[in-house]
Symmetry: C2
Subunit: 411 residues, 2 copies
């Protein structure tokens, strides 16, 4: 469990690991890796874990150890220059594509564009995605993350709010260590939606020479005041739940009511009224409970949002949500004081996808981000996404931009 | 306190009441009323109270007594046909214009368009506004309302959640009783913003022959699923506060934390990112508390929203907020099952003012409302409001529509 990063045995991609078992030597593995890249990815994913013995945050705090889950689709070529990093959204995980088992109900969130022959073509690229620090879904067996719910080896107890605040830059630094452990120094592209867009901007600003293409989706270069307030609203229900107990709940009842309500707000804000009004009507949740006559009776849309939130809350951790809120609020591309300077450091050709109906990231802010990157000398293309989901059109409607993404990646 | 509606002594307008004192007879008062209508309104408002010995809700429940506050600007003419009813928004009161004292910090919310020579010209019209049932600001000394925080005479204790659920139609019925107590049978116009628009639609649908003009502002003809969910989000923080205790808190600590958070959401949803991003930056609330380093530290916009919410919560009641949520959720013009039929009953020429940036009432819904009223045979004019406040442009930016409103009222 506490192997150092250098000695970790958990950092070899799935296909090559299977082959290591067959071949038995590192040399043979290297040779086989090259041939593996010719084989089509079969769509089945194995979650893997990357571990660092310790990690010092950009803020100067040490976390030991750090473990994060990751998965990959396609094969890393011999030159190790065909990697595309996918960075996940606020409530997401590294499960960007494929299925863990044939009978999985749904594939990863961007499966529509990741796979053999798809825009992020796994016959050509090695697509890799990792769970962030303080990932929301700390109790999902498929997620490995390090955050307040993780055991602090010094105490043998969960970190709780002793866990240091982390930033989007920290997410990037841990991803960078993961990639280096695989020998990847250069990224064909970095691409992610929402909080994933923030990570993508940060990658391209912090390591401009290592990022060849940048594809931020439904996200701007900074947490603007609107986003600061929206995120504050997401954290609030947890803080209101008496079980939260200032973050100290790991030996008692977790603040599930607050967590559910927080996730309900996340779902609502990430959508749009067009979705709500085209998907629902004024039906009651229960035909026998008239919401106009009973204080506790509700409408179908309320019940559905509650049900979605309850299912998500089962896998989530309340403190992790609050830490994610803080990380997103802290975001300004380049991790300095000047957005202009942070974005001007980006050198990669940039393709920004966004929705004019986004209620989380103001479209004006996305357009301004594009202008500032362009002002710094990089080329930027801004493409709007259509749909009735608002912010979420960047997740569920990404296929509409498939051709543009494909062309951008091959430029 | 428990005078019947017929015998109430509190239903005479301010100017005529003063004159009654001088003249001493009802006949003299009637004569003086006529001359009073020629005097300019001086901008000073006296809150008055209307009482009904009992009121039976549209749902068949009895509330006894019902008391609501009201105020008026200008003078009722002899024919009693110059009255314009102003209906208030979710967190508003009957204080639509003027000041209670010369040194009041701010006048009523629509003072920009109500007064001598203004579009709602008090030299010409008698403008009257009343507090609704379950008014949010139950603890504002200037507000009189009846709701869960009111004493139930049968028990001598606050009603709490024994108070029956009420609807927008109930608000209208109580207003109608108030107007009848003043001898007003005909309304020159009904006009209100947001929840006030709902009351206005309801008036014109329920009593088409008594409403000569209809001016709904920033509101649609029905609580659509988006609004159902948004309102649900407003109620949630109160339900999460342990002090709420299923609404039974009047002999203990009120759920102020939940109420504050609810009001913070109301403020945020009623605004727009353009306002947030043009008004605030990423400043910290406290120069010594870096929000990126301290879990409890916050940004200036969070602090400001919290401060606004805290000030509002001082005067508000948490159960009243939940009852208002239920009343708004229940709304469909005409109080039936069909929006088409409810809106088709409207006969009054209609001027709808709305914002394309409204995040509470979807602009598509407002436009559809206009179409359905028109389909029923009434004339409708739809005018957009500009500004950076979103929904609130209908409150703080109403002056921009002043000329249009003036012309509509004199048509």
């Amino acid at each position: 469990m506490h192997d150092s990063f250098e000695h970790s045995t958990m950092i070899v991609p799935r296909h090559s690991r299977a082959m290591l078992g067959l071949a038995g030597t590192a040399l043979a593995a290297t040779l086989l890796l090259a041939s593996a890249s010719a084989a089509a990815w079969d769509g089945l994913v194995e979650k893997q874990v990357f571990e660092m013995e310790e990690y010092t945050t950009v803020g100067g705090e040490t976390i030991a150890p750090v473990r994060i889950g990751w998965e990959a689709y396609g094969s890393l070529n011999e030159e190790k220059d065909n990697a595309i990093l996918i960075t996940h959204f606020f409530s997401g995980t590294s499960h960007a594509a494929g299925r863990y088992a044939e009978d999985d109900e749904a594939p990863g969130y961007w499966d529509a564009i990741i796979g053999p022959g798809k825009p992020l073509d796994t016959d050509e690229y090695y697509i890799i995605a990792s769970d962030t620090l303080v990932n929301l879904n700390a109790h999902d067996p498929k997620v490995t993350t390090t955050g307040p719910a993780s055991t602090n080896p010094e105490t043998g107890e969960p970190w709780g709010t002793d866990f240091p605040l982390v930033t989007i830059r920290d997410f990037v630094e841990v991803q960078k260590a993961l990639l280096e452990s695989l020998g990847i120094e250069q990224l064909h592209a970095v691409m992610g939606p929402s909080m994933g867009a923030l990570q993508a901007y940060e990658w391209a600003s912090a390591y401009p020479e290592q990022v060849e293409r940048l594809i931020p989706v439904i996200g701007g270069g900074v947490a603007d005041p609107w986003l600061l307030a929206t995120l504050s609203g997401w954290a609030a229900p947890i803080r209101l739940d008496a079980n939260w107990n200032d973050g100290d709940y790991y030996d008692g009842e977790p603040p599930l009511d607050g967590l559910r309500e927080a996730l309900k707000l996340v779902t609502l804000n990430a959508n749009h009224w067009q979705w709500a009004n085209e998907t629902f009507d004024r039906s009651w949740a229960d035909d026998d409970a008239d919401p106009t006559r009973e204080l506790g009776a509700r409408y179908a849309i309320e019940q559905t949002l509650d049900d979605i939130a309850a299912a998500r809350a089962e896998l989530a951790d309340a403190n992790h949500l609050i830490y994610l809120v803080k990380a997103n609020q802290a975001f300004i591309a380049g991790h300095g004081d000047s957005l202009e300077e942070g974005l001007a450091r980006i050198e990669a050709p940039t393709l920004i996808l966004y929705s004019e109906n986004d209620l989380v990231f103001a479209p004006e802010g996305v357009r301004e981000t594009a202008e500032l990157i362009e002002a710094g000398g990089a080329t930027v293309e801004l493409v709007t996404l259509e749909g009735n989901r608002g912010h979420l059109d960047g997740v569920v409607g990404i296929d509409q931009a498939g051709d543009r993404i494909r062309a951008f990646l091959s430029d």
